[in-house]
Amino acid sequence: MIRHFAFLIGREAANRLRRQVRRLRSPRYALALLVGVGYFWMVFGGPGMGDSARGSGQGYLVAARYVGPLLLALYVSLTWLLGRRDALAYRPAEIHFFFPAPITRRDLLRYRLLRGQVPLAFTALFLTLATHAAPLPWWLRLPSLYVLLGTIQLHHMAAALVHASAEQQGLAGWRRNWIPLLLFGAAALSVLVALAGAMPELRAADGARAVLERLALLLEHPGVSVPLAPFRFVLAPLTAGSLTEWAIAIGLAILVLAAHYVWVLRSDVAFEEAAAESGMRQARALDALRTGGMGSYTRALARPEQKRTAGRAAFALRSSGAPEVAIVWKNLTFVLRNTTRALPLLLLIALGATAAILTAAGSTPDQVLRRIGFMLLALGVTAVVAGPVWIRNDLRMDLRFIELIRTLPLSPARLVGAEIAASALTLSIIQAALLAAGSGAVVLSGTLPIAATRLVLPALAVLVAVPAIAILGVTIQNTITLAFPAWVQLGAERPSGVEAMGQNILTLAGAAVLLALSLLPALLLGGLGAGVVALQWRAAAPYAGGLLALVAVYGEVLLALPLLGRLYARTDPGELGLTR
């Protein structure tokens, strides 16, 4: 069976490559590829990288040895808590051909794993290039990263199987997986207890070096070293000092990988039972897949008995007025109905846990509030930078329905504007909420070195600037989607999982560069304006400059809309792979 799967995957990869190469005949794709390769070379292989490479090798070792296992453990914990249903996702054609075929569920899992190897190899290659500063040669780093990512992929799948089993069979499903659950729970508890015990020492440490030294000591504590051993094993090849050391380390890492593989295939029993439970359920899931994409499919498959209710719409839509409001209403309603309600709850739990740990470590309430404030501010800043990539209730979602939206009586520019507005509005609300809550917490902590009243104007300025940056970021994402529709995954969910990590990092980096470039005119105009105003009214200069910068940003977006409209009007449904 594996031979047949390999044939399918091989043919698919070859055909996809051929299609991509053919697409390069189009000048815009060819130019974009050149720019991408140039950017990659500048960042990872360009002039001047040699010196920095030698200088940062130590940082790489420290990260891989001490911070790596802890981060990996945290990542794995999140996987267990949140579940990763996409790890079990099959494409419509796979469901159509494989599910009714005489193929065991175990082989289906093997196929799913095999299919993930091509993007996994790409991500490993990408990370090999990205870690060019590491002392380990690339030909050892590449297989090390491949084994590490492969183990994470298997772990995702195992956790997804446990979740699916539990969701479909309730308590019986959890009981069926009592061994991994017990092991995971005990390991998490052991690490948390040791971490809480070491917190006063970590807090007392002066400087990053001292923190790392304490962290190294903590990792040697049996309560931490034993549970984190598998994580250290899979990371160890990356820090090997010699070929012999690497050979031993990679052997152990492969053992961890093999253990995961056995675990996944053994879990297959529960998955097989659940999948075979009801043809009706499968049909419903397939139906959801057709209308709502893979996210709806996995939701329908995982929670078949749970009837989905429509929930609240964004606002009451009147039948008269500007037609583009209907698009904004539709896309905001999508966000309201598809955002998991657990997300704010998870944030609250994380903040509560942080507060509890800090309090246990001896922080005063003011200090706790201040740190939580900074956490929220950091999240807000992250949302400013990465938010446009995450929030996708715009053309990235609606181009799937191009055959419907093309027939709507809206000019292309107005339609694109409405799509961008919906996403930007969603993002602005999230960003403003996080930044306002963060600033509020910091101010309330009373630990600021200046009077809070002096922060009112800057805070207002930030709140006014945030929507502008959001709209610019979302416009960039939609520009990329319209300019290179064949390179963008359409749908509400962006590609995820370790397999898509490389692609996502590249997208994020590309969008960040574009955002920086598109902010340049605004910064120049703002700076110039501030300079001129400063000649007369020094105190008003920053605000005048900021206002001019805002005008420039909105001006850029307004100028871009007709161009984007033209791009949208020229987008061929065939290029999106949507025509039948």
């Binding site: 989905r308 039948s319 037609p323 409001v325 329905f401």
Partner: protein, 239 residues
Amino acid sequence: MIEVEALTRLYGTFAAVTDLSFVVRAGEVVGMVGPNGAGKTTTLRSIVGIIRPTRGRIRIAGHDLQSDPVAAKRALAFVPDEPHLFDYLTVEEHLQFVARLYGVSDATSRIAALLEEVELADRRQALPEELSRGMKQKLAIACGLLHAPRALLLDEPLTGLDPGAIRRTKQTIRRQAENGAAVILSSHLLGLVEELCTRILIIDHGRLIASGTMAEIAAQRPELAGAGLEDVFLALTQS
């Protein structure tokens, strides 16, 4: 009225539709038939603005689709063979959405009447995932009819409908034409086309090979006199 003039659509060097011209007047129901891959769907998608013609001109209710697309689209409705619905909007919200886009003035009463007509009144709060294939098709039809289009294009509109719904949909199509809409009906169900359509367009290899009433088409081939559409279709497309 729908006017198609010298419509050509190329995919690379492949011509999906070549030099196609026809007119559908107000009150007419024109059937578009042809073998698989003949260019029917490409033609329909070009007329409703989903794809851009390589050459040619399309006018809907007097508005040029290329130079005045918004006015042209406001006058038309397209019901595709596969209903495209937003999975997060309810049945009623789909209609409210369409009402706002097309500026339907008496939306509340029209939505209520249409929901009754397509028998979805008791499913108004349902999401598409809760609907059967036929119900989705009914919703797509209701969305198409809400703004009383002057040009109505239907691609296999009866797929998935139960016998009662088929009868009602046929009546609806006739009524739309009687009320002055220009209707194009594309289907492989030749009996349906023969029953409903006042004129027929037969397309093959992207070209119009015959058009007119059954009698007019048969007159071009005396040996087909008195034959049904199926025989005429097979004789023309397999020759």
